[in-house]
């Protein structure tokens, strides 16, 4: 589960420790973010081994360039997610392009772009679900995964039916922003400070 309560101080100190070349900090950094990084990489690339490789690349990038994170720009978590997203999509595009060349014109660049876009949206969606406020996620989990209707969801969560409906709608509204690509260059939507 996301450690959402981590204070920005932790982010700042972590960056300083990484910049200082403290191997112990790298281990702690891995312990906090490995499942996030690996999960996103897996969603985009759809392959365990490729996700392992990308995880290695992301951590190597952070370890070699800890200064590229600016704590003023937002939480470390969002930055790590955005970095992972960028590298994973790059990797997917590269492997798909190579496959396209190898297939000798079978399949189109259009298909490739659709595939990349689809993977990209799926990764943002996963991140949004993981990072959304717990009450919203809990409501979605009950309604979608446990197939509870909104009245049962309300009872399960101990809230009014009105509130259950509100949470389901808000949760889906948030999730739907996964489709809004390209809002801010360099920072895929879904990884901003808002979630």
């Amino acid at each position: 589960m996301a450690k959402k309560d981590a204070p920005p101080r932790w982010d700042r100190k972590m960056q300083q420790r990484l910049a200082r070349g403290e191997a112990a900090a790298l281990g702690e950094f891995y312990d906090r973010f490995a499942s996030l990084v690996h999960g996103l990489a897996h969603t985009v690339l759809g392959d365990e081994r490729a996700a392992d490789h990308l995880t290695r690349d992301v951590f190597a990038h952070v370890w070699e360039h800890p200064d590229t994170y600016d704590p003023k720009q937002g939480p470390l978590r969002s930055w790590v997610a955005a970095l992972t997203h960028r590298l994973a999509v790059q990797r997917l595009r590269a492997t798909e392009t190579a496959a396209l060349v190898q297939a000798g014109g079978q399949g189109s660049t259009e298909e490739l772009e659709r595939k990349v876009r689809h993977a990209s949206v799926a990764a943002r969606a996963d991140y949004i679900v993981q990072s959304m406020p717990v009450p919203l996620r809990a409501a979605l989990e009950l309604a979608y995964f446990q197939r509870r209707d909104y009245r049962q969801t309300a009872v399960d969560l101990g809230v009014t039916e009105d509130e259950a409906r509100r949470r389901l709608r808000l949760g889906l509204q948030l999730l739907s922003t996964a489709h809004d690509a390209g809002a801010a260059p360099g920072a895929p939507p879904g990884y901003g400070g808002a979630v």
Binding site: R20, E22, F145, D149, R151, G171, Q173
Partner: protein, 470 residues
């Protein structure tokens, strides 16, 4: 402001255009007799535009999903509505009259609708509305698409060896200015592995019973606790290293009779009113991170620093290996209790742990001999071999990943193991040796190949088992 609160603004903003006074849907509902009929006679006002109770209420004591609103009325014991009169009034009486709800109510239902979490009547009402309302239709499509993005979370059990590989790859590209000492890497790796095991534990797992087993006075001993109790045990005993390093004692105000691992653990368990819960995970993990960090800064010059365990002391680097070993042993206890698979440590880490045990054996042997638990040295070398001189030795051969060979001097901790003075040879698998040293397998039952002096072999196997403690 909490985050859920922030999104409320979004909702209100979204809804602004939706409910003006002239809202045709609102009006329609007020005038609709059918809406009243389907709501039944539960006394709810439907004409005041109050969308707090737009739909049939189910009492808390009713079955949660109510296929027909009338059923809830019957179950409440309140008077039934005069259905016949209303049916007559309707031009073509449907099995349940269609719901007519105001725009605002329908819009609030869109999330539940997209998730198929409404009653059939509400679903029909929403879908009817979508034909007429462009704004709601747009949102409905968006939310339905969003539902398509939901999928069951895949179990993200990361391969524990990935951590080692990723970190090694990083450190190769950019050598650390402050490395983790080699003798602390097994502790770093084992605590990370155990933490990953705990990751998805629910209450059932945290409170699963665990039996800690060890050897005391050459007899198997055990103590019952829970998974959370084991983590509390690791927290308090790791605390001995924390204290030696000048870090905070995790025991806080709790006082133990003696500064031994078991006394501290028992005191900690006794001090809490309730059995330990999952809450113990965070302080344990924080302390383990702090230990790795702190020992990295002490650098290589830790010769002077030793960690008191009450009855004995270990140099800091051995204490960290000991804690790594204990972490693995108890992780296996936990994994067994909750029926999860758990792998042995990496070969390199296992080797360091076996090496610690092998180095401790001569001291343990001599202590056992003093109290008559081990046979006195036979033959011409009856008395202590002078320090630094070769002495009677047992060859300990550990098979498998992380294995190796150790020559254990039998007659004095100061003596040097010597192949020329080898009197016995035992060979066993690394995992089996560790189970023996953990007190999980009896010295008489350990699967060990044995050649040579039977007494020496027996002494070493029992000495290995006596390394175990709670």
């Amino acid at each position: 402001m909490n985050e859920a609160g922030r999104f409320e603004v979004y909702d209100e903003h979204e809804g602004q255009g939706g409910h003006g006074g002239e809202d045709p849907y609102e009006k329609g509902e007020r005038e609709s007799g059918a809406a009243n009929a389907s709501r039944g006679a539960d006394g709810m006002s439907s004409g005041n535009g109050d969308d707090r109770h737009p739909t049939p209420e189910s009492g808390p004591d009713l079955p949660p999903r109510i296929p027909l609103p009338r059923a809830s009325v019957e179950d409440t014991g309140r008077p039934l509505p005069d259905l016949r009169a209303q049916d007559l009034a309707a031009p073509a009486p449907p099995p349940s009259a269609p719901l007519v709800l105001e725009h605002r109510v329908l819009k609030a239902l869109l999330g539940a609708w997209a998730l198929a979490a409404c009653s059939p009547e509400e679903t029909a009402a929403v879908e009817e509305h979508l034909g007429d309302c462009g704004a709601c239709a747009d949102e409905a499509r968006r939310l339905r698409e969003a539902v398509g993005l939901l999928h069951p979370a895949e179990s993200l059990d990361l391969d524990p060896s990935l951590r080692t590989r990723v970190l090694a790859g990083c450190l190769e590209r950019r050598p650390p200015r402050i490395p983790v000492p080699e003798w602390a890497t097994p502790y770093d790796a084992e605590t990370a592995r155990l933490d990953a095991l705990l990751q998805d534990f629910g209450d059932a797992e945290w409170h699963a019973p665990v039996r800690l087993r060890w050897f005391e006075k050459d007899e198997p001993t055990s103590r019952r606790t829970t998974v959370a109790g084991v983590i509390a045990h690791l927290l308090t005993v790791d605390g001995l290293v924390a204290i030696a390093l000048g870090l905070k004692d995790p025991m806080g105000d709790v006082a133990a009779d003696r500064p031994t691992p078991s006394a501290r653990t028992e005191a900690y368990w006794r001090a809490s009113h309730y059995p330990p819960t999952r809450a113990v995970r965070a302080p344990w993990r924080e302390q383990s991170h702090d230990l790795v960090r702190t020992v990295s800064f002490t650098g290589g010059g830790t010769g002077k620093l030793s960690v008191p365990y009450g009855d004995f002391e270990l140099p800091l680097h051995d204490a960290m290996l000991d804690r790594a070993f204990e972490c693995w042993v108890h992780a296996e206890d936990i994994a067994e209790a909750v029926d999860y698979p758990y792998e042995p440590p990496s070969g390199g880490d296992l080797h360091q742990m076996v090496d610690l045990a092998a180095r401790m054996l001569p001291t343990v042997l001599s202590a056992r001999r003093r109290v008559g638990l081990a046979a006195p040295s036979p033959g011409p070398h009856r008395h202590l071999v002078p320090a630094g001189e070769p002495g009677r030795s047992l060859r300990l051969e550990i098979e498998g990943s992380g294995g190796g060979e150790w020559l254990i001097p039998l007659d004095s901790p100061g003596a040097v193991g010597s192949a020329d003075h080898e009197v016995a040879h035992i060979a066993l698998d690394g995992g089996e040796f560790c189970r023996l040293a953990a007190g999980h397998v009896s010295p008489t039952e350990a699967a060990a190949g044995q050649v040579g002096d039977r007494e020496a072999i027996r002494d070493v196997l029992f000495a290995a088992a006596s390394l175990s403690r709670m």
